[in-house]
Subunit: 316 residues, 2 copies
Amino acid sequence: VGSPKPTDQPAIAGEDDVVEFIRGMLGSGIEAFGLRDDAALVQVPGGGPLVVSVDSVVEGVHVDLSLSTPADVGWKALMGAVSDLAAMGAAPIGALIALCVPGGSGNGEVALGVMEGVAEASVAAPCPVVGGDISGAGQLVVAVTVLGSVAPGGSAVTRAGAAPGDAILVTGPCGGSAAGLRHLRAHTALGQAYRRPVARLREGDTARRFGAKAMIDVSDGLALDLHRLADASGVGFVLGEVPVADGATLEDALGGGEDYELLFTVSAADQEKLAAGFETEGLRPPRRIGVTVADATERTFRGDALPRLGWQHTLG
Amino acid sequence: VGSPKPTDQPAIAGEDDVVEFIRGMLGSGIEAFGLRDDAALVQVPGGGPLVVSVDSVVEGVHVDLSLSTPADVGWKALMGAVSDLAAMGAAPIGALIALCVPGGSGNGEVALGVMEGVAEASVAAPCPVVGGDISGAGQLVVAVTVLGSVAPGGSAVTRAGAAPGDAILVTGPCGGSAAGLRHLRAHTALGQAYRRPVARLREGDTARRFGAKAMIDVSDGLALDLHRLADASGVGFVLGEVPVADGATLEDALGGGEDYELLFTVSAADQEKLAAGFETEGLRPPRRIGVTVADATERTFRGDALPRLGWQHTLG
């Protein structure tokens, strides 16, 4: 998680561009690659649709081992992938872990530390680990694939379902992870949001059951993730406010990422029903932060154009 | 793929040991981690069992970009994972790709090259790509998760089903990949077995349907993989011969790995039926290379104890 930066860059410079190219290369057989949605829907012969997603955590890119323990890295890798299930309104079935650890003395211990964190997050989610692979590498990489399902009769919530006039809601304050990272760097104690984020599985399921039309998790930054939802749905948005986590700045909240709060839309008619659903479930009420609009080029925050602030890998 | 080496090392020195520790840490919730089987079986609510596996290819560990193109790496990563499905007698449903590529100029091209090879192997298998994630990293890592299923009424073939007196068979000659790597290093033209291996999906399915009791793919070396099958099944073996690929040595065949031929057992009673099944399917007849025995400590090749020759990562 670096500083927020605008990501309007030339072609094939950023993750979204490469993903677009790859999607074209793989043709129509592919239902989702990376950013088309948080997770893909796969039809299992003789069964219902499976919700699947893969997410990687790379040392020096997503995590810094001087600020996070190997167990923190394992926790975050599993929760980050489970958060993609939450953002589809799906329930976890299991996870597969591809672990790459540097060779040399002591790295058996790093591998065990990472898997300890994976095991802890696996219990907390809950999402059992059903398979894995260990390999040597020059740096620590943890790639987690998660499998999930939506209750019979329900449908997964994609990014593409928003229509003009929907309310835009978020399950909680954002920016806590970015602020936590700053605190860790300053050697203060407030790093939990960064070190041990929690996927909003119950919030995702509840949002799905009570009318969410489009949903995404805030993994790369609220601004960038909202742009992606709007891209997929073909709508614009007018954002009025953003809940900012304690200790975080507005810039953290807009562009910090890794908060794993869920961002979703609901029709004006379903807003009250949805609020009641969250209350019944004993969940924190989601905050209404704006509204979608028909003009897909209109994308404002407090009246000004909102840049695509957030975290994207540069692959130039 | 390094030179074959014996892997009887102290605790937590090799991949198998770390995997054993992790398996204990994750408790009984885990059905398979790494070497317990080629793939894990996961129950999908409202559906049949899903066969899942994950496999990584790491630059400098499994592949050398001076000998393989990025597209070769992508091909191999996908086929290696699909081979785990073949070894369960399962049919592919789809694959998820976690791609980590070094930052900096030109690496967008590496990412596209890798995915081109993934796409080619995806068509050849066939196994559609259903999801993916791209990240920066210090070195190229491709982690592939595959999902598969076994035809209704059938059961996946694990490593653990062998009983004493079973015939041991292999679907083809081994050592071709190791020999191919040597040829590549010597700049001759014989590198296809190393650069573009093919998973034995039809052979795996046919073996399953005609009585295979235990099965594994030769990914790390015939000797090591046979030991693993024997470990899982609680049997010993008497190996009489090993088919050696053209241009390969006996040591290549025993310890080279990455051949992706399938190694399986069948009861004496089912041998003829199985041979007929392979013939009906138009497949190369599997070669009988030995027999399983009740004494799990008896593990010989041509009368001498067979070392666990093969490829294991050292994580000490």
